[in-house]
Symmetry: C2
Subunit: 227 residues, 2 copies
C-alpha cells in the first residue's frame, strides 16, 4: 500500500541545514495497525507528513497504492488527501472561527456532500468522540482534549481507508484515551489502515507493529504481539 525507499528530509533555515529524516525504508500493507514511537525531535511528525502526502521528501522514492507520489498531479494528490487519508495533526489545526460541527464537516465540503447531510454526519461524529454537548463550541471554547477529539472526528469523517494520527491522545486522560482507541480499533476491524504516533506505551499496546525512530533513522521495526 505505502512504500518509502531511502527517504531523507532536510529542513533549511537560512544557510543552516537541519536533517530530520536520514534514510528511511518502510513498507506498510493494507489493514496494518502501526505505532511510530521515538524521542522528541526524532522525526515522527516529519515522517507522518510525508506518509500523508502533506510534504515531500528531500530525496528517496515514495509509492502510494502503487503510484509514485512525485509523479502525481495536484488534483490526484488533493483527492488522495481528502478521500483516502484522514490526518489528525499534533497541533489539531482547527479553524479558530468555526464551531466544532463546521470543523468536523470541512472534508465533506471538498468531497461534495450536501449541507443537510453534512450537518447530520458531523453531529453523529462528534457524539462518537464524546462531544455531543459541545457541537456549537468554537476551539477557544473547548478544553485541550476536546479540541483534540474534534480533530479526530474530522479525520474520520470521509471514511478514509488510511488514518494517520500524530499523538491523538496527548491531551486525554487514560479513560478518554481508551475510548478513542476503541474507535480506532473499530476502524481497523473494518479493514482500514491505522498509523499512530504516540509516546504512551498503553496506546502502543493496542497496535500490531511498532516502528521506533531515533535521530531520523529507524532504530527498530517489530511486531507488537497484539492479535
Amino acid at each position: 500500500l505505502i512504500e518509502l525507499q531511502n527517504i531523507t528530509k532536510t529542513y533549511q533555515i537560512g544557510a543552516i541545514e537541519v536533517p530530520a529524516l536520514c534514510g528511511i525504508d518502510l513498507r506498510i500493507e493494507e489493514n496494518e495497525y502501526l505505532a511510530v514511537m521515538g524521542p522528541s525531535g526524532s522525526g515522527k511528525s516529519t515522517l507522518m507528513n510525508i506518509l500523508g502526502c502533506l510534504d515531500t521528501p528531500s530525496t528517496g522514492v515514495h509509492y502510494f497504492a502503487g503510484e509514485r507520489v512525485s509523479e502525481l498531479s495536484d488534483d490526484r494528490l488533493a483527492e488522495i488527501r481528502n478521500r483516502k487519508i484522514g490526518f489528525v495533526f499534533q497541533t489539531f489545526n482547527l479553524l479558530p472561527r468555526a464551531n466544532a460541527a463546521t470543523n468536523v464537516a470541512l472534508p465533506m465540503i471538498y468531497s461534495g456532500v450536501p449541507p443537510d447531510e453534512r450537518k447530520a454526519i458531523a453531529a453523529e461524529a462528534l457524539k462518537k468522540v464524546g462531544l455531543g454537548d459541545r457541537i456549537e463550541h468554537r476551539p477557544n471554547e473547548l478544553s485541550g482534549g476536546q479540541r483534540q477529539r474534534v480533530a479526530i472526528a474530522r479525520a474520520m469523517i470521509n471514511k478514509p481507508s488510511i488514518i494517520l494520527a500524530d499523538e491523538p491522545t496527548g491531551n486525554l486522560d487514560s479513560k478518554t484515551g481508551e475510548e478513542i482507541m476503541q474507535l480506532f480499533r473499530a476502524l481497523h476491524d473494518q479493514g482500514n489502515t491505522i498509523i499512530l504516533v504516540t509516546h504512551e506505551e498503553y496506546i502502543a499496546a493496542h497496535t500490531q507493529r511498532v516502528v521506533r525512530l531515533l535521530d531520523g533513522h529507524i532504530e527498530s521495526d517489530k511486531p507488537n504481539g497484539r492479535k
Copy 2:
C-alpha cells in the same frame, strides 16, 4: 500561600451557560508539589488559569500570599504574574515570529533585565531543557515536544516561586519527560511550589499530593506517598 474558597467558573456562549468549576475549596502551602488530574473537560485548565491569576472566578474568594486577588491593582497582578508565577500553557502560547531564545527571554523584558544578560540566561535555559542546538529556531521550525520545552524554559526564566504547568509532558517521550521532571524536582528542592496538570500516572508519581477533578468538582485530594 494560595487559598480558594467555594470557587465557581461559568463560561458564557451567547445565551448558553457552561459550568466549568462548581464549588472548589483548595489550600496550597509554600513548597508543596501537587498534581491536578481528571478527565478531559473536567476543569483542570480553568482551575490553573485562576490559580495563575490569569482569569477570574465567577464566584468565590481567592487569596494569594495573604492578599485577596479580587482587590489587587492591575500593576500588582502583573507583578505577581511576571515575577512570582511561571506558567506553562497546555497550548504553549509561543510568539510565532520570534525564535526560541526570544520567546524564553520574554518575561525578562518585562522585569527589566539588560539585553546581553537576557540572551545569555535564555541560551542557558534552553540548554537545560535539551534545546541548546535549536536556540534560533522559530516555533514552526521545531517539533511539538521541542515547542513544549521552549514554553517550560520560558516559565522558569524569572525564577518564580510558583510553577504552574498544564500538561508539560503531553508531547514528550518518557525519557525526555523524565528529564523535565528532574528540572521540576530541582526547583522543588530549592523551595519552590509546583502545581502540575497531568494525565500520565508516571508524572503524577513524582508529586506529593494529587487533586482529582470530576465535572468541575474536587473528587479527591490525597497525599501521594512520594517523599
